[in-house]
């Protein structure tokens, strides 16, 4: 029995596996400093490995999903169902010539992909991947996420400026303007959750969403009116932060060719690509942590499934919706994008803020529910209609002549 119980236990909680392994090493007399190094390497290696595999998988699945939406097959040549496509892509990317424009700022051009990759990997440290599975248990984990994530802006600027290309500079300017603008609603909608939970620690936020109303309804924040709105705002801002459609203006290929990535090729381009995807997973992971209950199971009896499965399942779901949105929407225009950020997203995130506060002080009951629904609903309708009134189908009439 013990023989089977242990593996099952380790699947449920892989972190215990590490502790078991380390204590085993300790019992062999491995010095403590080496244990520390091994512990760190194990965690970091696992996280990087998992996310790189996820990146590889997503790069092919995204193409397959996009293809299916467009009624095509998508990549299906390399390996079973085309699943080894990333290998082929990788070989291609590595063997491709690395072109650096003659007039480029060589150092900045070279460093940009590196600088891009660092924050993308660093933010992964604070996500709670499962029960007791936080690589770095930080008191201000959410703050850490945004603080480190700010580094991507520097990287995008470096890429744009270092390439010495007009398209690149325009793309970089767009990217910075967009990221700075959308960071505000992003942070405020996260702050709403921190406020309600009373903590900036991701694990505390997940724990706070762990109970079930009526014994089956999960207490995730997304199922409250303010949480739903904050989640949507966070989602939209996350799309903008990770430069994904419909906010892919920095790369807007129909006018800027490839924006700040125009002059990148080969492995540097692949690094950018990888950083963007890892960054996307990270922000999806934060969204899951903040609003979708993190690693909590959606129904009480489903807790039998390992907690990290729920986390990655939810991340995959959010990532899928991002791909789905990409397959549907056209790109926004820069002025609409800014107007939307400052005149819709920001007021709406304040409304969510207010609604959350009211929800909390009204006792988190049905009344609080209704109150917060009104507080977020009315601004939504008013602001939204203010925005869409100018652009509507109904005010166009077409005359016909026989």
């Amino acid at each position: 029995m013990n023989f089977f119980a242990l593996p099952v236990h380790f699947v449920q909680a892989p972190n215990e596996l590490k502790a078991w392994f380390l204590s085993l090493l300790a019992s062999f007399g491995v010095p403590a400093w080496l244990l520390v190094v091994i512990s760190a390497v194990l965690v970091i290696g696992t996280i990087i490995g998992v996310f790189l595999v996820l990146f590889a998988l997503t790069s092919v699945l995204e193409r397959k999903i996009l293809a299916r939406v467009q009624n095509r097959y998508g990549p299906n040549r390399v390996g079973p169902c085309g699943l080894f496509q990333p290998v082929a892509d990788g070989i291609k990317m590595i063997t491709k010539e690395d072109l650096v424009p003659r007039s480029a700022d060589k150092i900045v051009h070279f460093l940009a992909p590196v600088v891009m990759m660092v924050p993308a990997l660093m933010v992964l440290a604070i996500l709670p991947y499962g029960r007791d599975m936080v690589p770095a248990e930080l008191d201000a984990g959410i703050l850490y996420f945004f603080a480190v994530g700010a580094g991507t802006e520097v990287a995008v600027f470096m890429a744009g400026w270092g390439s010495n290309n007009k398209y690149s500079v325009l793309g970089a300017m767009r990217a910075i303007a967009q990221m700075v603008s959308y960071e505000l609603p992003l942070i405020i909608s996260a702050v709403v959750v921190a406020m309600v939970t009373g903590s900036l620690a991701p694990s505390a936020i997940v724990t706070a969403q762990g109970d079930f109303a009526f014994g089956f309804f999960p207490g995730w924040y997304v199922f409250t009116p303010w949480g739903f709105v904050a989640c949507l705002l966070f989602y939209i801002a996350a799309l903008a932060e990770s430069n994904r459609c419909p906010f892919d203006l920095p790369e807007g290929e129909s006018e800027l060719v490839a924006g700040h990535l125009t002059e990148y090729s080969g492995f540097k381009y692949a690094t950018f690509f990888m950083a963007e995807y890892v960054g996307m997973f990270a922000i999806c992971g934060l969204l899951v942590t903040l609003f979708l209950g993190g690693w909590q199971a959606p129904l009480p009896f489903l807790t039998i499934v390992p907690s990290w499965c729920w986390f990655f399942g939810k991340v995959a779901f959010v990532a899928f919706t991002m791909i789905w949105v990409r397959a549907t929407l056209p790109r926004m225009r820069i002025d609409h994008l800014m107007t939307f950020a400052w005149k819709f997203m920001l007021p709406m995130s304040f409304a969510a803020f207010l609604a959350a506060a009211c929800w909390h002080y009204a006792g988190r009951g049905p009344l609080a529910w209704a109150l917060s629904a009104v507080i977020v609903g009315v601004p939504y309708l008013v602001l939204g209609n203010h925005f869409t009134a100018r652009f509507s189908v109904t005010n166009r009439r077409y005359q016909f002549s026989e």
């Binding site: 502790a19 403590a32 008191d139 480190v148 009373g198």
Partner: protein, 182 residues
């Protein structure tokens, strides 16, 4: 088992915390020097950003986690970007007319100003009572505690700063809007 892990974590922190202070401090100073010395404005700005990052790491390594993270968020995420934007949007022609009254002093003036500032700061630090009393053990300052203090004892300064910043924001918006008016 988790206790074992925690012990390990604590051990690792003790083992490298002094290096975590010293190395970023060195990086910070070098980057700051480079920012002052480099002729290329963008390189200077990027070096300044690097020194901001190193400073944030120093704060974190010293146990001031919250301050360090805010340093990163505000200085790297916003201030550095604003500097970069300002450089990109400024044309040499805008600079040509505007001459600094201290431009004639050259590097000597800069060094003198810096030295003066350093002397003033040191004098202030050594004259304050903090330098004379023995350091108490570093207080553990969880974020919640900081929040309570900001919202409790320091609520008035916080609000004043908030109002000031809002006024600055409105002022900036008004200045920017004037351009658009015909």
């Amino acid at each position: 088992m988790n206790e074992f892990l925690q012990r390990l974590n604590a051990l690792s922190w003790d083992a490298c915390s002094q290096w975590l202070v010293l190395i970023p401090s060195g990086v910070m100073l070098l980057a700051a020097a480079a920012a002052a010395a480099l002729r290329n404005l963008i390189h200077a700005a990027l070096c300044l950003t690097l020194s901001f990052i190193a400073l944030g790491i120093v704060f974190i390594a010293l146990g001031a986690e919250f301050v360090g993270l805010v340093q990163l968020l505000v200085y790297v995420g916003a201030v550095a970007m604003l500097i970069v934007f300002a450089i990109l949007l400024t044309r040499p022609s805008d600079l040509a007319g505007a001459k600094s009254p201290f431009a004639g002093l050259g590097p000597v003036g800069g060094i003198l100003t810096g030295a003066g500032l350093l002397v003033a700061l040191l004098a202030f630090i050594f004259s304050s009572p903090v330098a004379k009393t023995a350091l108490p053990p570093a207080p553990v300052a969880p974020v919640a505690k900081i929040g309570e203090l900001l919202m409790g004892s320091y609520i008035v300064p916080l609000q004043v700063v908030g109002v000031l910043l809002t006024a600055a924001l409105i002022g900036a918006a008004v200045l920017a809007m004037e351009d658009k008016q015909p």
